[in-house]
Amino acid sequence: MKAQASSRPLRLLPSLTLLALLLAFVLLVNASASPYIARIVVLTGISIILVVSLNLSNGFTGVFSLGHVGFMAIGAYVSSILTLTLETKAQNLPDLPGWLAHVQMGFLPAMLIGGLVAAVIAVLIGIPLMRLSGHYVSVATLGFLVIVRIVLVNWTRFTRGARTFSGVPAYTTIWWVYGWLAITIYTVWRIVHSPYGRAMLAVRENEIAAQAVGVNVLRSRILAFVVSGFLTAIAGALWAHKVTSFSPGSFYFTQTFNIIIMLVVGGMGSISGSVLGTVLVTLLSELLRNAELGIHIGPVQIPPLYGLAQIILAVAFVLVVVFSRKGLMGDREIDWGRLVSFRGKGTAEGRNEGQGRPDQPQD
């Protein structure tokens, strides 16, 4: 149809612009920001990957997994075990089986293996669990999280148990993080805007009706779960190689609530929402943490209030969930097409393009 031919270059333009903006941002931060700001930028980037991949299963398919941090742990531990130098391995993990004790890999292969291990586990637990819905699947995935933690604490040969896993080489740089961030957003976007994605949304809205029109519920859910698990594990590997020391407690309920808050505030079902929500919550956290020291505004002195950051975030969370269920962005995406389009608000194609609603006939 006439719209098709002219729509392709228009879609390419917003994506390339976004990519260029991202590149500029990374270059800027790399060149001029203080180590503290740079660290926050890197950690935020990792959180975005976590939240966007969580959105793929929780937001788009409606399967609210409470156990995703388990995949993060798998990615972190597997990749770290592989990248530890041989000396550190001998010191910290003396009981590793022979073949593993002599392996030392680069960052990329190690994180990919971490992701693959997570993906395989996601398939294994997805097959039984993705049949469940609603709160049943939430509870079951919570069980997965608890089981992962117990394995981590007990498999001391590989994980040092409850003891801190330290000495991880600090490979994560802003390039790694934002490179994977671009890949994550692209992947999730493509899945959501594909026939699989439409199936997922159909299942989310009304499982029975979707089944009635022939959607294979199980398959679309498992796909989302596995891809999401893989990306979450990658984020875990990136995180591990940034903080360089962690323990099983880093991958439990606190981390789970953190990313859930970011996901909900941003809006489940919107990728740009996830990005916005994560950035907002992270910024707010850091700023408030500084405010906790006590505020001196002229003669007025507010005493230190440790724990303030958590309360304000909790309040924000309550407000968003109760009054604006869909979060900041809800189901909508930022209208990049319109922003970049030189044709202005006028045309129907422009409006259709920018909306990003996957149920419009576009492809």
Binding site: G62, H135, Y136, A140, V146, I147, I150, I311, V318
Partner: protein
């Protein structure tokens, strides 16, 4: 210790543990039955009740009045959360309600962390000294608090059953839990019934909280999380919708926890929770509505 005595002692341990889990689970099941809401804040209601008791003790009022005031406070807080947070999202998909209760829970916890300190406090000032004793019979010991817990659980269970079968409000609650629309059609005031369910469920949480803290001896702002998780597991295993299911699941959980440690070698003690959650997942797959739940799946 002869094996019979060992078995008896572990059974007593399991009954005591199961009873306290049952107390927590009953309150959770009441609210779920009516609203299909998993109330993450249930554990925090327990916590608030304990702190209320803790602070009231210094006013010097007697133990019984203290309990009454505490339960009242718990019920009020529960009703408040219903009115403010849950009513606006009534009828929303499961996930939204889950998130709302999570949000309420996080909020209450953080307020308490800030206002009261995060450091655990002793609950001994509240527990009457008479409850501190232990009874030994044929080599098997059981503490007075555990006897009290079992007794209270049994009594409250019976009382609640009578409540939902013999009183108007109780029967109305059952009607609402079975068929919300139908209940509305026959003229039941939904808001009032739901508030009543929250009041009763929260008061139950208060009782459970005080006994939990008395058993353990300490309270802290995050203490509600573990009982919530246990009650969760119990209710899922036994059947989320019914009171009997919650109680059954709680005892199954209590026995599982004690016997896994008691009869497997000590090296496996730390795997206890893994076994429990595997059991949970198994139940979810085979009988998603729990042991006592209905076997029907959701239909069009």
């Amino acid at each position: 210790m002869p094996i019979l005595q060992y078995l008896a002692q572990q059974t007593i341990n399991a009954l005591s543990l199961g009873s306290i889990y049952a107390l927590v689970a009953i309150g959770l099941a009441m609210v779920f039955g009516i609203l299909r809401l998993i109330n993450f804040a249930h554990g925090d209601l327990m916590m608030v009740a304990c702190y209320a008791a803790f602070f009231l003790v210094s006013t010097g009022i007697g133990f019984m009045p203290l309990i009454v005031v505490t339960l009242f406070a718990a019920a009020l807080l529960g009703m408040l959360t219903e009115r403010v947070a849950y009513r606006p999202v009534r009828g929303a998909p499961d996930v939204v309600m889950l998130l709302t209760s999570l949000a309420v829970s996080i909020f209450i916890e953080n307020v308490f962390i800030m206002v009261v300190s995060p450091v655990p406090r002793s609950f001994r000032s509240v527990t009457p000294a008479s409850l501190d004793s232990v009874h030994v019979w044929a080599g098997v010991s059981i503490s007075t608090i555990n006897i009290l817990t079992v007794g209270v659980t049994a009594a409250l269970f019976v009382l609640l059953l009578l409540f939902v079968t013999r009183t108007r409000v109780g029967v109305a609650m059952r009607a609402v839990s079975e068929d919300l629309l139908g209940a509305k059609l026959v003229g039941i005031n939904l808001n009032r019934v739901i508030l009543a369910a929250f009041a009763v469920g929260s008061a139950m949480a208060g009782v459970a909280g005080i006994l939990w803290a008395a058993r353990l001896g300490k309270i802290d702002p995050l203490m509600g999380f573990i009982p919530l998780l246990k009650a969760f597991v119990a209710a899922v295993i036994g059947g989320f919708g019914s009171l009997g299911g919650a109680v059954l699941g709680a005892y199954v959980l209590g026995f599982a926890e004690i016997f896994i440690i008691g009869f497997l070698p000590p090296e496996l003690s730390s795997y206890r929770d893994a076994f429990v959650f595997l059991l949970l997942i198994f139940v979810l797959l085979v009988r998603p509505n729990g042991i006592l739940g209905s076997t029907e799946r959701e239909k069009v």
